[in-house]
Symmetry: C2
Subunit: 221 residues, 2 copies
């Protein structure tokens, strides 16, 4: 029983891979690079996690075309990364339009080619305000596209175990499964140590604080 797991090397996708393994799946790790500033760090973390889980494969796919499409501060270095500035309704500048549809399409192609029965993606409650392609109804709609658009038998199931969980709840699951959070990278900035102030660092630290466990990585500030 095999599953394609989207594994960025961040804390949530690493936890996701541990959950898939714990459910009995052999892991085909799928790691994306798309010209983001922190590409090398994320790759190292993702490879470490995949190795620790005895992944049957590690497939790295470059989405350089995200740069051609543009309109996001994660790939366009002319757009500064914002510090966390409270909950916001608007779509943040780190948004790559329709990104998850692109990632899920590739993951599904890979799953069909390798006869995997599931695709794991770590979308979660906290993603909803700004990212329309992280919501449960988006995933449900994409499942229908998978059912209609693949020839796979048995069918490929999109697995989103975190879709109604907060980051702190995900962290609690991961700690129970022994996820080595020291080996994960979350920060949007490409410094030696995590910046501690971008929105990704903010949410990570908030999750550790919420459950009263120290974050094993070091921060700039």
């Amino acid at each position: 029983m095999r599953a394609v797991c989207l594994l960025s090397g961040g804390m949530d996708s690493s936890t996701l891979a541990y959950v898939a393994k714990d459910m009995g799946y052999d892991i085909i790790a799928l790691h994306f690079t798309y010209g983001q500033r922190t590409e090398a760090k994320e790759r190292t973390c993702a490879r470490t996690i995949a190795r620790m889980l005895d992944a049957v494969d590690f497939v790295e796919i470059s989405l350089e075309h995200f740069k051609k499409i543009g309109a996001s501060s994660l790939t366009d270095t002319a757009i500064p990364i914002e510090e966390y500035a409270g909950e916001q309704e608007a779509v943040p500048s780190t948004y790559v339009p329709f990104r998850n549809a692109n990632l899920l399409a590739i993951a599904t192609s890979l799953a069909e080619a390798r006869r995997a029965e599931a695709v794991f993606i770590g979308v979660q409650t906290g993603d909803y305000p700004g990212y329309p392609d992280c919501r449960p109804e988006f995933i449900e709609a994409f499942q229908r596209v998978v059912d209609l658009g693949t020839a796979a038998d048995p069918r490929i199931t999109l697995m989103t175990p975190f879709v109604r969980m907060t980051k702190a709840e995900i962290l609690k699951v991961g700690l129970a499964l022994g996820v080595p959070y020291r080996e994960t990278w979350s920060c949007y900035q490409n410094n030696d140590r995590a910046c501690g102030v971008c929105s990704s660092c903010h949410y990570r630290r908030e999750a550790f604080r919420a459950i009263g466990v120290p974050d094993p990585i070091e921060y700039e500030e």
Copy 2:
């Protein structure tokens, strides 16, 4: 009013771009390469068509990862291309799993980033037997994913003017619009002249024969 048009350089997608232009859209041509044998020929044809239509942009995106995913004779040169051998129910060897979902995801990202209101894709009746991701219900399901997964306003509409047309009917439309079929490439083989016997050549010639017009390109046999 702008539209992203998937433009491979074949006869159907070229006709599609002419239809979009005729409907009043400015064309953002989106051309994919994915390591197929006939990459250079298709690019030349697509650029010629885009130029003739005064396209506002020509975006070329490499899907090299299709090779990593594999399982198709269009990209895997170890798998021979079959000659046309009659109508078949099975999925043909030229199938890249879930390909149209990948292409539509990128096209939608580009449309949102460039504020285009439509995405044109040339799926058609003749594609259905073997390609599950060409059927009308697949496109309808993907439209829902677009509606839920983008922040675009006005919404992005998937346009499939050929979805219930045969190749001969599409050709008739194209001839009326003056599509220069001499500048299009359909063959799966990478020879100077089209092979005339692969399934793509077969269907092209059949369409020209059906409406009694000579095909302006030359064939090997």
